[in-house]
Symmetry: C2
């Protein structure tokens, strides 16, 4: 269902745990990948390469993303798993977010974020959530073209940032959204109607704020609309729009209203954290940074310095991100195997980390998933 | 508690119902103002002037905000009440949001948005909400400096918007936040401890995304922090920070964690709609656009074309906005009288519009408030 689909038998995966709990959850995800059974004799084997990046690395070495990490990713890896990065609490000269830089340098143009609450089909209710957020991942305010000037008369500072929206990036991100809407629909068709949460046509919701940003969000909106309007392939997909403020309101009032949501970078960042709040914990929401030639899995949560080093971080977002990595590399069966194992662990509710109200350690959750994977 | 404080005995208020349900809720708010009792012989009398603006007006007259409306506001009015404005669903040449323009032309630099759930002190729980959002109201992406270019090689469009953050605007907005935090605290002190929801020191949460926008949000962050750090007056106010994505997550997970929240324009827009979702309906959340010389009340909701003209719009946001208008003009007793009447109507739950699960009409809710106001 995506543009990425390379099915090597041996996959080289870069592991970039980076900061805080990233260092605890990434090894867990690795263990799950290593434990995958050889489904239909078709599963890949893995070769992992540990790579440096992050704020801690910056503090020791003066750079948050060493050239070598990027080079190895580009030249030796089929994909990567990222952990989490800490943000300096004060402005630090020379520091720049490594995750934003990796997305850009590897041209990982769509950030795919499925947000799903765990419920058996019996439990479906108005608050059930099964949303796929596609976040544009290369531009908007994330181009980081900022400058500061000092007003000569007043001596006061004025800062400016540029927000970029291009037809090129909007189109490929929009295309990803419609493709994935079709993919979800296909998967649903193989489920009996009464077991489906979403029973209608697939739907793509376009998020923007073109009532204020008529040129930039206007271009975003028209370009994404154009993806459907210019291609009969997407005739079966409904399309609607939400202003970003209403989107957040509606997300909380009627989450069951949304199927696939596509948004510019910054709105997508905010919306996905908002959606995570609906499914119990940021600790269960995965993402994949997807480009045409590379995929990088990344939990949506941060480095959580408050709980780092205590072996109680939830590894589920990282494990699911490993699943997304496989899915976007064409290993659908293997991805499903991971998703199902995780869903089972969550549904049973016996082995949960504290963010979900349990008392299990990171490793205990990893072990519970591995038991169900194999 | 604010920088605006003029206590004329006769107030001239501009009424700008604008579009959709704005035309139904604004007259309701007017009726409540007219029904106010003469508390301690100190209440103002009102003179209302109807003023044009909005998308419907644009469609007939080619402008969404006639010069005359601005002139009358500036020269004849002490304050104003705005209704709601429709957004064109497609790009319309020459159209520009009148509410954004009014905020700018009248220099209404802070948008004050109290979001409170109705509960008696017995009901206080983890999900109780009593948050005051202070949204910067003049800059950020709302400066609307946008441009579009066509790439010569590819023929594809690229659009740019400027985001402005100034020390000047950040400081006065930050000052408003700390002033209002002190004001809330003072009001609380006059309530017995067991009846207070917020029992600790007042707190200001600064929202930003300086891990990505180190220059613009960096300037915002440092300037707002500086307001407290450079003035002992605010020693009693706690200060903390949230990245905008975590802010939205936390808002939903732990709304009781927040007291006063101060945010740049766009984040403030999104957060206030998000917070509204926590208190039952956008239809109950008011705002005041506050400048040093003018205040304009404005419900946070939009023009709601789907229910316009059916006499079922919730007038409470508009009525509370009239209360905020009075509060920021220095009529605290009169504002309190409106807030209490509205709280009573909500608590009784007998006369509610459909958005809150009731069957009452707009006018019935207005009448219920008026009965309790007098
Ligand atoms: C760490 C930060 C730069 C990042 C972002 O804003 O993209 C994070 O919030 C995310 O969502 O992946
Ligand atoms: C109508 C729109 C321009 C406005 C805004 O974005 O400020 C509205 O959403 C609001 O919150 O008052």
């Amino acid at each position: 269902t995506t543009t990425v689909s390379r099915r090597a038998k041996k996959l080289t995966i870069g592991l970039i745990p980076a900061d805080g709990i990233g260092k605890e959850v990434t090894p867990g995800a690795r263990q799950v990948l290593e434990a995958l059974p050889n489904i239909d004799g078709d599963s890949p084997s893995f070769n992992f390469i540990n790579l440096d990046a992050g704020f801690e690395y910056f503090q020791k070495n003066g750079t948050a993303l060493p050239e070598k990490t990027l080079e190895i990713m580009k030249n030796e890896c089929d994909g990567a798993l990222f952990g989490a990065v800490s943000s300096p609490s004060h402005k630090v000269a020379g520091y720049s977010s490594p995750i934003v830089a990796m997305r850009k340098h590897l041209d990982l143009y769509a950030n795919v974020r499925p947000v799903v609450s765990v419920a058996s089909e019996k439990d479906f209710n108005q608050k059930h959530v099964d949303i796929l957020i596609i976040r544009e991942n290369t531009e908007c305010l994330y181009v980081k073209q900022e400058r500061q000037v000092t007003d000569e008369l007043t001596g006061l500072k004025v800062a400016w940032a540029e927000r970029k929206i291009s037809e090129y990036a909007s189109r490929r991100c929009g295309k990803m959204a419609f493709e994935m809407a079709l993919g979800r629909d296909k998967l649903r068709q193989s489920t009996p109607l009464e077991k489906r949460f979403w029973k209608g046509k697939p739907k793509v919701t376009i998020v923007h704020k073109s009532n204020v940003l008529s040129i930039t969000d206007g271009l975003w909106r028209e370009t994404v609309r154009g993806v459907k309007e210019n291609d009969h392939k997407y005739d079966s997909v409904d399309m609607e729009e939400q202003l970003v403020d209403s989107m957040v309101y509606r997300l909380f009032r009627e989450p069951h209203y949304f199927d696939v949501v596509v948004a510019p970078n910054m709105y997508g960042d905010i919306i996905s954290d908002g959606a995570a709040a609906l499914v119990g914990s940021l600790g269960v929401v995965p993402s994949a940074n997807v480009g045409d030639n590379f995929v990088m899995g990344e939990p949506v949560h941060g480095s959580a310095p408050d709980i780092a080093g205590q072996n109680k971080a939830n590894p589920i977002a990282a494990i699911r991100s490993a699943g997304l990595l496989l899915e976007h590399m064409g290993f659908h069966q293997q991805a499903l195997c991971i998703y199902n194992a995780v869903d089972d662990v969550l549904r049973r509710g016996e082995v949960l980390t504290p963010d979900l109200g349990g008392r299990a350690t990171t490793q205990q959750v990893v072990d519970a998933v591995i038991k169900l994977v194999t």
